[in-house]
Structures are given as structure tokens and as C-alpha cells.
Subunit: 403 residues, 2 copies
Amino acid sequence: MVSSSGATQDEIRRLNVSTLLRQIHVHGQLSRADLTTRMGLNRSTIKALVGELSEAGLVTETIPETSMRAGRPSHVVRPKSDTAYVLAANIGVDTVTVAAVGLGGIIEGRADYPLLRPAEGHEMVIARLATEFRELQASMGPAAWLVGVGVGVAGAIRRADGFVEFAPNLGWRQVPFGQLLAERLGVHVQISVGNDGDLGALAEHVRGAGRGIQNLIYLSGEVGIGGGIVVEGRIVTGAQGYAGEVGHMMLNPNGRICRCGSHGCFETEAGEDAVLVACGREAGGGRAALLEVFAAASQGELRALDGLHEIAIWVARGLSTLVNLLNPDVVILGGPLWSLFFLTGDLIRSELHAMSIFAARTQVQVLQPGLGDDSSLLGAAELAFEPLLSDPVDAWSRRALTG
Amino acid sequence: MVSSSGATQDEIRRLNVSTLLRQIHVHGQLSRADLTTRMGLNRSTIKALVGELSEAGLVTETIPETSMRAGRPSHVVRPKSDTAYVLAANIGVDTVTVAAVGLGGIIEGRADYPLLRPAEGHEMVIARLATEFRELQASMGPAAWLVGVGVGVAGAIRRADGFVEFAPNLGWRQVPFGQLLAERLGVHVQISVGNDGDLGALAEHVRGAGRGIQNLIYLSGEVGIGGGIVVEGRIVTGAQGYAGEVGHMMLNPNGRICRCGSHGCFETEAGEDAVLVACGREAGGGRAALLEVFAAASQGELRALDGLHEIAIWVARGLSTLVNLLNPDVVILGGPLWSLFFLTGDLIRSELHAMSIFAARTQVQVLQPGLGDDSSLLGAAELAFEPLLSDPVDAWSRRALTG
């Protein structure tokens, strides 16, 4: 609510700067003419806004050398990805990935290292993150401006302060992760922590297969099944940030005990170990064993195919509940779930057809992630960019103050 | 996005008029001093906005006769519920309720009549609605201003045009209900149709047990189990409006065939007939039979108690999936589900405790509806008021034009 004309003008300018920067960040490059159309502002206003962002070192402008169109070519505005950047990490069950991500979602530097669970507790992970982040910071130029830190964790995270309530597959419980990481890093920027599935959904919505899609569900499986829900363009975090625990929908009242304490959860019926056991392999073989099963099935091994068909039905059951509850436009299946869908898509589709409300299922599309294995990492980066994107003017004023 | 200062001033005024009218509609009455605080505007702006709404006949102002506080008492602003009103209806499986609802959510007149299924197809329901609505219109004074029509239907509704895709418990399939009703009524206002569960959730959020609660789930059972989901203060409608089909979560892979075509849905395991059968009664007895079962259980009949305990576990299973997916602050149980919770709450709570993620379940509260059996009816009214509330200035300009 705006009460006086003075505040209004300044608020509108800030909002316009924010909208323009977000457009450039999301789309990578846009001409001034595109920006004029998208934002419904006149050319001189766009020119002035771009000028402000350019002065702050956040965007660059170039004049295209050739143009097929008649008339003066429109200046092209691009993010300056080596100036404003974030440090992002995703703590998966098997692997930790860290990266410096520039404006526009460009990965400027990255490192992946295996996580040795359960030996590697949160203290070791935090210490390692601090080292990796320092190296990435050093690799960015002296003009680089760290605007935030974002971390994805495979667990139930309180969004407000990054408190890890429970990360069963990492063996963490009630870890004040956000606070401990902030103390260790000692940086003067906001540190945001989110659930890896939520962040995967966020990145797929912003710049992946779900770009422009307002209602989507992202599912991904490592050891468990994680995911995130986007409703009307926003991640559903719920009351405290614990929403989106798709792996713990109760699908089988007679099912196996789950690491979460319940039984018959989606992830006990269709997670990594369930796949391995259904296909006649031993549980606990991890990603490598899973890849072997998918390879065997695609070469026609009956045991593997039968097992995958059994799992496919559980996946369809889980999807039908999600489709009936949330009527998404798109379901994105990441990691091994996409491999499963690639091999058993017809069965999943026909079972989903049988188990979901006619109206909701007719239009739902099942897609592969647009960002490969980096959905959660890039989602952590999006979380870290949010303070800059939502108020760039405030961000660069504070930068000027702190040096 | 706002481009010029002129447009800005007018848009801000319209937004402020809208916000103020919504505050009065939701809270029933507020002093000008309260409005000043809530809206962050100065006293003279509030006075002018109230003046506009008062001139349009939407609110009245009174000066309190006595005041315990020192100083001049602040004028109290109330909705004028006999001026602007909507026609609302809820088509449940057993009963149709129609009402004239005034600004502020005040029921000015109502009628309930039983629905004789399956004899009563959509044509008969529409004809009856038209008659009932005409009578209600006639009962409102000559100064009354019909601002919209809202109808709740127990089915999967395409929100855009009120097309009933599938209403299994009414026996309707692919009925262009919104269009047919508009043709029959011949009124010049917007006719909005929504799922009864979504509307129940909406009304409970706006003026019921979920007032001020941003994340809630509303569940209600007649023959089936319906419900609605509120995330960040907004009803989740999904891509086409079919979201919120809580009754069709797949809970039991070996369960009974459901009217929706699937099997083992929440409503086949915990709906009206499931309760009756579990308690040793015959299916199909309707609400009266259900009330008999609850009465018998509360008098200690073992067969009824055992049956209700069995159903309570299914309810906890359904709730655990909803809690894990959506992390709500509050779950509101309407109709027979509240009676069930009243009789078996401890069991439901302990099962929910065992099956849901620690963090999400700790804070969730289970509540009775604040609006009794009228949640969906009042939600239909809220839907109908929306065009007026979102832009009162536009609404009264159009009224002046059409007479």
C-alpha cells in the first residue's frame, strides 16, 4: 500500500529496475525493443533503466553488427555474469556440487565431490563447503560482487533460517545448518538454504523444461524420492518450509518401513533400493547399480524389465495422487525417474490414465529436466540471487556502504 | 507495470478503494482508526475513500455513542449488506442450498431443498435454481444491487467457464453448466462456478476457522470426500481448475473400485459408504444412516466403534500425505469427518504422528469449520463478490451504465 506520491515514484522505479534485471537474468539476453514490449514501458524509460543497471555493472549493452530488419537495430542487453555472482551448492545423498553462478544463471566455476556417508557429518560438509567456496571466490575477478549464498539439502528444511529438521538419507537430524554455515563462511551476504527438490522445481520453472509453466511438479530420485511443487509460478513451501515431501506420500498401507518413520511411502516403494530389489539385485548398490539395471533392461533382461514394470506402477500411483491433488500442466522427472520413464513410459501413462481424474490427466505432460543433473544446484543459485533481483537498488546501495 | 504518473494515481486510488472495501467485507466492521493502521494510509485519505464507498451505497458510517477511550471516537464503517448482494448456491450430493448473501457475508435469505438423485439431472437443477434465485431477488429491496452469481458443485469444474467435467456423485459428465445457467438466468452479471470443496476452503480461509491462516486444507465428506487447498492465502486451482481432488488420492492399491474409475481412493476407503460398511450397516443409507452410526458409537456400540476406528486410520493416512506434501498450518474437517474426528481424534492424531514428517506434523492443528454446513455456500458467495471487490470503481461505473 502506497500513501504518498513521492514514495510511489521511487517504489515504481525500484520495481521497474527489479523487473528489468529479472527479465535479463531469466532470458539471458533481450533487445531494448523486446524489453519495451514485455514491460509495457516506453523506450526512453527502458533506456534510463538499462543505463542504471549498466552503471551498477550488472548488464552490458551491445549494438548488433548486422540486422536483417530495416531501421536502426535495437541495443541488446545482456547480464554481466562475471560481476554479480552467487555461491551455490547442492548437498545430494551421494555427491556435493559447488559452483560460482553468475547473473543469467551462468556457471562460472564448479566442483563435484563424492559424499562419504555416513562418516561425513554436517561438520565435515560445512568445512568442505567453506574451502570450496573460498577457492571459487578466489577464481572470480577482483571486480566480482558476491550477492548471496544458496545451498540445497536433501531434507526437511525450515526455510526461515535453514534449520535442517530431518535429512534421513544424510543421517542429519535437527542441525542448525544455516547458522553454522554462516558462522563458518563469515560473509556479509544472505545465506539461504532450501530443500533440494524444491530448488530443482524452482530452477526448472525459471530456466528449465518448465519455463513459462505456472503449475508443475518436479520429481527426482537419488536414494529417496524428492521433489518440489510449483503453484501459480511459486514454490509451495507450506507453513514452515517443509512442503513438497513427495517421497513421503503414503502409497502402500502394507508397505516397508521408511527412513522417515512411516511405512509404504512413495520412496520405499519406488526409490533406489526398491528398484534394485524388484529387479533381483541387492539393495544398497547406489547409482552405479541402478545404471546397471537400466542397461540390462534396455538390453532385454526379463528380470530387470519385470522389476521396472512393477516400480512403474508405483510411480504411476504416486503421480496420480499428485495430478488429482494439484492438476499440474507438467510433471518433470529427473535422475533415475527419467530413465525409468524412458523405459516404461507407456505403462506409466496407461496406469496414470486409469488412476487419475479424467480432466486433470488429459493435459498433463511428462518431461525430462531441462537442466540435466544441475536443477537443484541452479535452484540454489536462484535462491541466492533473490535479494539482488527483488531490489537491485537496495542491493547496490548496501554494496557501496560495505565496500 | 505502470508507465505514467497519471495512470499511477488512478490505479493507486482504485487499489485503495478495493483494499478498503475488502477489509470491510471480511471483517464486518472496522473503525476509521483501524483502517488507518491496517492500510498504512493517513486519516484524510481513509476518510475520502470511505466517502467514495459510502456515496456508492456500499458502506455506512456511524459514530459510536459511547467510548471508553479519551478523545473523539473514531467513525465505524460497516458494509451495507442490503445494497450490494450476490446469489449463491451449493449443489451438494444430497441437498441444494441457495441464498442471497449481502456484502460482509451476511445471509439475507436462503432456501434448502433435497436433491433427488439420480432422477434430477442438471436441467432440473438449473430450472430450480432459476426459480429460487428469482424469488430471492424479489425479496431484496428495490435499491438492492446484484453484483454476481456463484455456484458450488460437487465435481471437477473447469474454473474458466464453469464446465462440469465430471461430477461422479451427481451423475453428471461434461455438462456446460456455467453456460446453461447463464442462458437460463439471463442476468447481466458474472456467473462463477467452482468445486464445492475449493469454495469451502475459500470461505473458511476468508471468514471461518482458517481466518488469517495462509496454508490450510479443508476436507468435507458427503457421499464422497471433497476438499480444497489454500497455499499462501490462495485456493490452489491448478492448470485448468481441477486441483484439490483430495477424495481421489490413491491410498490403497488393493482397494475398492471408485466412482472416478480408479480404485482405493481416499473416498472409497473413508467415504460415507465405507463408514457404513465398516460399522456393519448397509451401504447407501446416506446422511441419516451415518448420524445413526455416530450416535451408536458415542453410546458405546462396539461394532460401530471398531468400524470408526478402522476408518480413522484411513483418514490419518490421507491426512499424512496431505501434511507431507503441503505442510499446512491447519486442517479443517467438515461434515461427518468432524464427527469422526470428535469420536476418534486420539487415534487419528497418533496415526498421523506415526506417518507424517516430524517437522510438518508438529504444528498442524485440526479444527472444526467456523461456518458449520455453510462453508461451500459462503465460498460460492465469495467467488461471486470477487469482481466487485477486486475493482469496486469499475463495478459501480458499469452499474451506472447498465442502470
